[in-house]
Subunit: 483 residues, 2 copies
C-alpha cells in the first residue's frame, strides 16, 4: 500500500487513542476461532463460542417480546392493516397500537425522515411513560429520540467538550463508550473510583477529591457520568446516595449525565430503580436547579432489542439557546430510525393491565427477568467459589465484574507475552473454553487489581455447562501458575 | 436559567459554527406555520405546508416498494414465517428472501447487535450487487453498513481531520452535511466551485487552483468530496470527467469521497451513472493506486426509505492498519440498525427478471422514476419561465437549484430585515404560499449570485398548483420590488 495517502501516522490521533474493549482484541480472536470451528468443528476443545463480552441478549437466544414485534411488523408494512387475514395473525392490541402509531405519522409514512427529535406523537407517549414511572411531569419537547443510547452520549460530549482542558467525571470501572467518546471529542476523563469493598459504592468524598484534583490541574469539569444500574459493576444506587449526587452536581455546577439504560434490570428485592429526575424533583429541585440528561435504550431491559438501535435522551435544565444547539446537532443527522423510535415508545408504554394481550406480555417479560435474576445468582456463586476470585452481587444490569487474584507466575507469563495479566487470563479462558469475557483493563480498575466482565445472558440451560467449563479452566490455570 | 452550568458561551465553539440549512430557520418557521394551520386553518393564505426543502419522498406521498416492506415486516417478526396465513398476505418471493436473510443471521436474531461492519451475509449480498453494477469485483470486507450515509461521512471526517490545518475539498454548492461535518470535526472546507454556466461543470483546473491556494495557506488537503449525481445541483458527471477526477486524486494523494447516494436517480437519456470505483478500475487502477470511499443510502433512489436509516460505505485502498482504526470507530457505536441493514441489501439486490414479483416490483419502480423525471422537467420549465430566474436541468438526484436575480430594492429590503437576500426570498415564498425551499446560502454559491434549492418530490398531481402558486408569488414579489 505504498501509495496510499492515509497511514496510521496521518490519521486523527484521537482515533488512535480511543479504545473500545467490548469489541476489542479478545472478540477479534473469538471471531477467528469461530471461523476455525466453522471450517473444522474439531479444531478447538469446544464446539461453540459463547459471547459473554457484550449485553446482547438475543444473540444468546433470548426471544423478543411478541407484542413489540407485531407492532413493528405492522408499522413496517401498513398495508397489512387493510387485510382480513391480519386479524388472525396479529393480536387485537398490536393492531390497535400500530394503527394508533401510524395515525401519529403524517401520511402513515414510516419511510419518511421525521422531525429531528423524533415523531411528535411518540415523544408524547414517551413523556407520558416517564411521568407514569416517576410521578413527576415530563415535557415531550425534552425528548430526543436516538439510534440507541450511544449517539446521544456522543452528542452530549460533542456539546460539552471544547478542548483537553474540559473534563468529564466518569466512574471507574466504566462502560468504555464514555472513555471512547471523551477521547474522540478531545476531552479529559476525570476518574472517580467506585468502592469494590462496599459493593461498588459511590462515595461523595471520592467525587469531591477527584474534582479538586482535576481543578488543581487546570481542568474545567463539566459533567458527571453516573451509570445506574451499574455497568460493568451491576450495583443499584440507593435513593439517599442519588440525593447526594444531585446535590453535588447542583453545588458544583455539573451537568448530570445519567445512564439509565438498565432501569428495568433490577434483580434483588432490597433495591429499586429511581430515575435521577424523580430523585431531583422529589428533593424539590426543578428545571432551573439542576441540568440533567437521562439516557434510555431499547437494547437493554427485558426487551434486549439491541439490533433495533432505538433510544432517547430526556434533557432538562438547559436554556433555550443551548437546546437550539442540541437540536441543530440532531438535525445534521436528520433523524433516528423510525422502527427504533416506535420501539422506544413501546418500551415506555407497554401493554397495561386490562389489555387483551397483557397476560401473555407479562408472562414473557417476567420469565425473562426472573431467569436473568437466577442466572446472575448462579454465576455469582460459581465465581465466588473459585480460588482467588471474589465477586459482588449483580443487583442489576447484565454483568458480573469479578476480581481475580492471579499468581505471580501468571503475571510474569503475561509480561513475557507482552499483555496485561487480565487480558492474558481472558485469552487463555477463550482458547480453553470458547467463553468470551472482557478484561477489566477495558473498563478501568483500581491500581493493582484485576477483573473481567462477564454477562449473565447465556440461556438458563447453558449455565451449568458454562460454570463447569469455567471452573475446570480456572483450576487448571491456577495449578499451572501456582507460586 | 440563571444557575445552568451550560451557556451558549461555554459550549464547544465547533457546535456553534456548524450550520445545517436543510433543517434551518426556514424549516423552523414552516413548522410554526403548520402549527398555526392546525389551530386555525384560515390563519394563512394556504391550507398546507409543502416541504420542498428536503429529499424526503415518502413525506410527500411516495409509496414504499411493496417487496421491500414485505421482507422487512417478515424479518421484524420471523414468527410469521411459521403461519399458513402468511402465504396469502405476502408474496412468495418476499417469504423466500426473508427466510434467506434470516438464515444468514445467527439464531435469526434480528434483535441482536450484529458485527460492527454489518451482518456478514448482507455484506456479501451488497458486494455481489456492486459487482453486478460495475462489472468489477467487490470485497464484502470493504463494506461498512451504517445508519444512512451521514454517519459514514462523519466517520471519514473523524478519521482524516486532525486540526484546522487539514482541509477537505468540497464542491460549492454542496450538501451541507459536508460543511457541518467538517466544522464539527474542526477541519477546513476547501471550496471548489461548480460552473453553473456549463450545467454545474466540474473543472479540473478549478480543483488544481483551489488545491494550490489551500496549500499556500499551509492547509494539508486530505480528501476530495464529489457528489454524483449532484446535490443540490442535480448534474450527472460524464465518465471522461470522472476519469480526470480519479487521476487528480491519484496524482495529488487525495482520498476520493464519492457521495453516490443518488445513483438510481438519473432522468435524462444522454447521461448514465458510473460509480467512481468502476471508472477507476476501468482505467486499470487497483486497490493500491487510489483510495476511494463510496457512500450509498436507502433514503434516495426510487425507494426513498429515509426513515429506515440504512446505508453503507465501500472503502478501498486503505492499508490494514488504517482499516483497523475504521473498524474500531464503527465498533464504538456497536452496529447500525438491522432493518436498515436488510434494506440496504435489498436495494443492492432487488427482484430480478424471472422472479415471480419482478413485474409488480418493476412497475412500482418505473412509475416512480418516470414520474420524477416528468416532475423535474415541469418544474425546471416553470422556473425558467420566471423573470430573472434561470435553472439548469435536473439530470439526476432530487433537486433543482435555480439562480434568481433579485431587484436592488429586494436586496435592500433583505438588508433592512438583517437577512440574506435569498433567505428573504425563501421566507416571503413560504409566508405567501406554504412552499418550503432552502436558500442557496445554505449550500454555498458563487459570490454575487443567489439561488434556492427546491425538491422535485411533490406528487405529480400537485405540480400544476405548485407552479401556479410559485409563479403568482414570484410575479407579485418582482412587482413589489421592481427597481
Amino acid at each position: 500500500m505504498a501509495s496510499t495517502p492515509v497511514t496510521r501516522h496521518s490519521i486523527n490521533p484521537k482515533v488512535l487513542e480511543c479504545e473500545y474493549a467490548v469489541r476489542g482484541e479478545i472478540v477479534i480472536l473469538a471471531q477467528k476461532l469461530q471461523e476455525d470451528l466453522k471450517n473444522n468443528p474439531k479444531s478447538h476443545p469446544f464446539d461453540e463460542i459463547l459471547y459473554c463480552n457484550i449485553g446482547n441478549p438475543q444473540s444468546l437466544g433470548q426471544k423478543p417480546i411478541t407484542f413489540f414485534r407485531e407492532v413493528l411488523a405492522l408499522c413496517d408494512h401498513p398495508a397489512l392493516l387493510d387485510k382480513s387475514e391480519t386479524r388472525s395473525l396479529f393480536s387485537a392490541d398490536s393492531i390497535k397500537r400500530a394503527s394508533q402509531i401510524l395515525s401519529q405519522i403524517p401520511g402513515k409514512a414510516t419511510g419518511a425522515y421525521s422531525h429531528s427529535q423524533g415523531i411528535k406523537g411518540l415523544c408524547d407517549t414517551i413523556a407520558a411513560g416517564i411521568e407514569a414511572r416517576d410521578g413527576f411531569p415530563a415535557d415531550p419537547n425534552d425528548i430526543f429520540l436516538t439510534d440507541g443510547a450511544s449517539p446521544a452520549v456522543h452528542m452530549m460530549m460533542q456539546l460539552l467538550i471544547r478542548s483537553e482542558k474540559d473534563g468529564i467525571l466518569c466512574p471507574i470501572p466504566q462502560y468504555p463508550l464514555y472513555s471512547a467518546s471523551i477521547a474522540l471529542h478531545g476531552g479529559t476523563l476525570v476518574p472517580y473510583y467506585l468502592d469494590e469493598a462496599t459493593g461498588w459504592g459511590l462515595e461523595i468524598s471520592e467525587l469531591k477529591k477527584q474534582l479538586e484534583t482535576a481543578k488543581s490541574k487546570g481542568i474545567c469539569v463539566r459533567a458527571l457520568v453516573v451509570i445506574n444500574p451499574g455497568n460493568p459493576t451491576g450495583q443499584v444506587l440507593a435513593e439517599s446516595n442519588q440525593q447526594q449526587i444531585v446535590d453535588f452536581c447542583k453545588k458544583e455546577g455539573l451537568v448530570l449525565l445519567a445512564d439509565e439504560v438498565y432501569q428495568e434490570n433490577v434483580y434483588v428485592p432490597d433495591k429499586k430503580f429511581y430515575s435521577f429526575k424523580k430523585v431531583a424533583r422529589s428533593m424539590g429541585y426543578g428545571e432551573k436547579d439542576i441540568t440533567l440528561v437521562s439516557f434510555q435504550s431499547v437494547s437493554k431491559g427485558y426487551y434486549g432489542e439491541c439490533g433495533k438501535r432505538g433510544g432517547y435522551m430526556e434533557i432538562t435544565g438547559f436554556s433555550p439557546e443551548v437546546r437550539e444547539q442540541i437540536y441543530k446537532l440532531a438535525s445534521v443527522n436528520l433523524c433516528s430510525n423510525i422502527s427504533g423510535q416506535i420501539l422506544a415508545s413501546l418500551v415506555m408504554s407497554p401493554p397495561k393491565s386490562g389489555d387483551q394481550c397483557y397476560e401473555s406480555y407479562s408472562a414473557e417479560k417476567n420469565a425473562i427477568l426472573t431467569s436473568l435474576a437466577k442466572r446472575a445468582q448462579q454465576l455469582e456463586h460459581a465465581l465466588n467459589s473459585l480460588e482467588g476470585v471474589s465477586c459482588n452481587r449483580a443487583e442489576g444490569a447484565m454483568y458480573l465484574f469479578p476480581r481475580i487474584e492471579l499468581p505471580k507466575k501468571a503475571v510474569e507469563a503475561a509480561e513475557a507475552a507482552k499483555t496485561a495479566p487480565d487480558t492474558f487470563y481472558a485469552r487463555r479462558l477463550l482458547n480453553a473454553t470458547g467463553i468470551v469475557v472482557v478484561p477489566g483493563s477495558g473498563f478501568g480498575q483500581a491500581a493493582g487489581t484485576l477483573h473481567f466482565r462477564c454477562t449473565i445472558l447465556p440461556q438458563e440451560d447453558r449455565i451449568p455447562a458454562i460454570i463447569s467449563r469455567l471452573t475446570q479452566f480456572h483450576e487448571a490455570f491456577m495449578k499451572e501458575f501456582r507460586d
